[in-house]
Amino acid sequence: MAAESEAGIDPIHQFIISPIAQVGPLTLTNSALFMLVVLAVVTFVMIIGTSSRALVPGRLQSLGEIAYEFVASTVKGSAGQEGMRFFPLVFTLFMFVLASNLVGLIPYTFTVTSHIIITFALAALVISTVLIYGFYRHGFHFLNLFVPSGVSPVLLPLLVMIEVISFVSRPISLSVRLFANMLAGHITLKVFGGFVTMLAAAGGWVLLAPLPFAMTVALTALELLVAVLQAYVFAILTCVYLNDALHPGH
């Protein structure tokens, strides 16, 4: 994220996917590498953190316990006790998104979630879980989801259309929100970082360079908040959609 001299001040350059290694037909890109890093981080926190099982938790164990408690209360709050059967899914999604957002904030790393194909794949996973479980559990009664109750028959076709569109828009909004926030945040950081070097290179204007630098510091703090917040929003919306699969019908 810090302005690299080689790449110039191209704020988009950080999102380029480049192959790193080739193993047979498989190519390891920087995106895939950082997915592995994210997995390693999550696995480290959860496995090493919970291995001691101390009654008074240490730092890593507290981290793992806080994450667990937080996701568990989110799931129970929006999908009820029954929603806890989806806890592994929600927890995995939350930890993956959170870890990749946070890892991406470290300079010279790659933000996995800044590519829409990644976030869309996650959203498609959520929505297909909702669809498959909804039809498995309720059969065609699941379609009641699209029929609002207490509506005059004249308006019903129109409202069913609107409900269907709003259902179809769910994976789009889920994926676009995460991707756009990450993309925009990182571009903004890069642009303000670029201002620092541009001002520093422009003779007397160097006196103004601390201003965008201060902005970069503030934006980094904001991005930290957004990174956690987006993971939370992703998790809570997953719960809300799963709640629809558990209890369709309005």
Binding site: S169, I172, L225
Partner: protein, 116 residues
Amino acid sequence: MTQEHPSGANEQELRERLDKVSQALDKKRSEAETGRRGDEAEAGSMGQTSKAMALGFRIISELAAGVIVGALLGWQLDEWTGMQPLFLIIFLMLGTAAGFWNMVKLGMGTKKPPVI
């Protein structure tokens, strides 16, 4: 009789004590309940600002996604049927309506959405 009298008094006394104990227990229980709920709320919430920001992100993306999906559906239906602008216009309107409808539902919170 001499035995019954003290036992009767005992019973009364016992009942009073039992009532007292059960009242105290109820109080303790409700205190624990509210205390735990407070803790949970604290753990579950991430501060007022963060909550508001999360809701804002959700609302704006609902609106955007509704419009985008409506436009895409209409565009594709136009491609298939060859009735160039017709479905695009209809579905753009429907998509916008869906976006607003989602926003209203979000804004209403846990309250029942208004019946049209």
